[in-house]
Symmetry: C2
Subunit: 140 residues, 2 copies
Amino acid sequence: MNIGEAAKASGVNAKLIRYYESIGLIPEAGRTAAGYRVYTAQEVRILRFVKRARTLGFSIERIQALVGLWRDKHRASAEVKRIALEHVDELEAKIAEMRAMADTLRELADACHGDDRPDCPILRDLEEAGTACCGHGHPA
Amino acid sequence: MNIGEAAKASGVNAKLIRYYESIGLIPEAGRTAAGYRVYTAQEVRILRFVKRARTLGFSIERIQALVGLWRDKHRASAEVKRIALEHVDELEAKIAEMRAMADTLRELADACHGDDRPDCPILRDLEEAGTACCGHGHPA
DNA sequence: ATGGGCCTTCCAATCATGGGAAGGTCAAGG
DNA sequence: CCTTGACCTTCCCATGATTGGAAGGCCCAT
């Protein structure tokens, strides 16, 4: 199985497979006499594992840890759970941040006529936030 | 006002101010005889505008458009609103994606004992998702 | 033996930000 | 006057994950 076939079988782009190898996320593939990378079914399984973990938003660093635990038949599930929950916490934090952005902007957009006149609450917010004035307040 | 003072006044890091100038987001600052950048109150206002827009998650590219509209006294608010809503749509899409990730992972983590035994639904999901095959070899 | 489709490596770009080196400038104090 | 330290300047590099391209080699089929 060469890299193109492994890519199709795993769903991971060939370019990305080489990158994953270069950073040590996956072991170095074997080579043919001509230098082509060769993949076994087991290596494709690892690639699929990585693919699924990326789909769930895990960072490469955490995936590296997860792959290590996956291969360790004597791992403690607590460690896996800890890593997963760390990731969930980060996701929730980012979601909350983006939720706040979206809500603020939606409100401003709702208050904006959206016609050909120049008056615009969105621009007013952007220019006034942080200046010493009604309700926004600003440090120093 | 030199760049350090402008940074304090606007909340934008001096390093970032230089970057914004280099990519043309803000106009080139004036210079003293010695080559130091000089900022006026108006330029600090632009920096604050940019800062606020970044806080709301706008990309530099969109901020460039917003700054242009802000300076154009004859802009149509519809254009500002359109840009804002485009951004909101992107935020909502990312939020939905991350929400799905977090929910899936939370479920898997809930199903995981999290003790020192190796059995772990999280790893089972990662290795089995999309796999329809039988090979149960050890990872190399 | 030629063409097309694979493979290889290396280099660069993305987006916004931060870090650091090497060197010039300014203000204060000895 | 000279030193010291805090600031400024430019330039290069790194991040994370991915994608793109160029230049060249390999394999298979016609």
